[in-house]
């Protein structure tokens, strides 16, 4: 039982539907930026997206070929572990279902990896069934570098550190291997509705 904070009433922001805001989160109109290092500057002619690891044959798409893949428009609420949530964000990108159709695998896990060295781990289950995309547009515009452009992973049902910015590929793995923040004490799975912020939550 938490002690009452004397004199604290809170400022529940009226407009947001509370059923869309996970515990401990607040709704922001901003799009805050968080990252552990400098924003990488990869030019589009150097860019490719790769799926490798526990697959029959690795596959890689250069930028132009990636843009030619069937894309989807996604509207989703996103939730950052630093407590902000942003509702009705709009993206365009390629479903991970579409990408994984290009490989044969029995892997249950994957590590998404990015320019700059960032990694995050996910289960195949969490990125299939129309739950994850590699997004390259935000709000109808090319995704800005500080928000992860040219392309970022978008896994809106998990805390946003799982939506790796500057993503360049997926390594499919038979076992689960912690990624960057997962190795620094953040939760391995990161479901905002279960408030899985840190290890042991």
């Amino acid at each position: 039982m938490s002690p009452i904070s004397r004199g604290f009433t809170g400022r529940r922001r009226g407009s947001a539907d509370p059923s869309r805001v996970p515990p401990g989160q607040y709704v922001t109109g901003d799009f805050p930026v968080l990252s552990a290092g400098p924003t990488p500057r990869t030019t589009l002619d150097e860019w490719s997206f790769t799926i490798h690891g526990a697959v029959n044959e690795p596959v890689s798409w250069p930028w132009e070929e990636f843009l030619a893949l069937p894309s989807e428009t996604i509207t989703a609420d996103i939730h950052c572990v630093t407590k902000w949530s942003k509702l009705d964000t709009s993206w365009r990108g390629v479903s991970v279902d579409t990408l994984l159709r290009s490989v044969v695998t029995e892997a249950d896990y994957l590590t998404a990896w990015s320019d700059g060295g960032y990694t995050t781990n996910l289960t195949i289950r969490d990125v299939t069934g129309s739950k994850a995309w590699v997004a390259y547009e935000y709000g109808g515009e090319p995704l800005e570098p500080e928000h992860g452009g040219p392309a970022r992973l978008l896994v809106p049902h998990l805390y946003f550190w799982k939506s790796a910015k500057w993503v360049r590929g997926l390594t499919l793995t038979p076992g689960d291997e912690p990624g960057f923040w997962e190795g620094y004490g953040y939760h391995n799975h990161g479901d905002p509705w279960l408030e899985q912020r840190y290890q042991g939550d």
């Binding site: 904070s5 607040y26 799009f31 552990a36 290092g37 400098p38 924003t39 290890q199």
Partner: protein, 248 residues
């Protein structure tokens, strides 16, 4: 009976406010006594949780300003006018009140002696908070690693820890201020934003491979990190922490 905490689990714990210090017109430091605190590393943060009488709760993260060796945990809070938690902490909170906290959180934006240096810290505004912790840790140790803080502030009045920074400088840390909006007529420090020119003046050259930490509002961190990379510093030697509303 209470369930035993899982090893490594971050449980909420009560902290008693023992002192409130006005740092600037907008920032206050909170000194806390935490009976169950298991220590932290310089650069880490905590989550603070407030509970209203009807059970409504709000959580926010704050950087730790005290060093690992300090007796009390110090948090410094900048009042955001449209904020929900910070105006409570800066305006309502009184010594003797209790807060719920959990932590420490984060393990990348930290500095310990074993990581070596030279240690270069670049702060914008209240981004200086984790660097106070790093400098406290630095002064508690052997000081055999060069440490330098470059702190960008709008005005002299907005400089947090002015007194502490003087003390840290007396103990051998290099503290360089740059004021971006206005400065006293006799101002001897730097003027203007942290750009490539100022970095060329203040930062160790890339050949010396300083370990660089940058903390501040997003636009500040983006600009400084880009200027560092453009000047030849290795991206992997640059660690960033960003906070605050994006509009600043």
């Amino acid at each position: 009976m209470a369930r035993a905490a899982l090893p490594g689990r971050l449980t909420w714990q009560p902290g008693r406010v023992v002192e409130l210090v006005d740092e600037t017109p907008r920032c206050k430091s909170l000194a806390l006594e935490l009976p169950d605190w298991r220590g932290h590393r310089a650069g880490q943060h905590v989550d603070v949780r407030l509970t209203a009488e009807d059970g409504y709760q709000a959580e926010r993260s704050y950087s730790i300003a005290s060093g690992p060796e300090d007796r009390q945990l110090l948090l410094t809070v900048e009042r955001l006018d449209d904020g929900e938690v910070s105006p409570y902490l800066t305006d309502e909170l009184r010594p003797g009140d209790e807060l719920e906290l959990r932590g420490p959180i984060g393990g990348y934006f930290v500095w310990e002696y074993s990581q070596g240096g030279p240690l270069l810290m670049i702060a914008g505004g209240s981004g200086v908070v984790p660097f106070r912790a790093m400098l406290r840790h630095w002064t508690a140790g052997q000081r055999n690693v060069p440490a330098r803080l470059l702190y960008s502030s709008r005005t002299l009045e907005d400089v947090i820890y002015r007194h502490d920074l003087n003390g840290l400088a007396e103990q051998g840390a290099e503290v360089k201020l740059t004021l971006t909006r206005e400065w006293p007529p006799d101002w001897q420090g730097h003027r203007g934003r942290v750009d490539r020119n100022l970095l060329a003046d203040v930062a160790w050259p890339p050949q010396q491979r300083p370990l660089v930490y940058v903390c501040g509002p997003t636009a500040f961190v983006e600009g400084v990190a880009e200027a560092l990379v453009d000047s030849g510093h290795e991206p992997s030697r640059i660690r960033t922490e960003r906070f605050g509303p994006t509009g600043t």
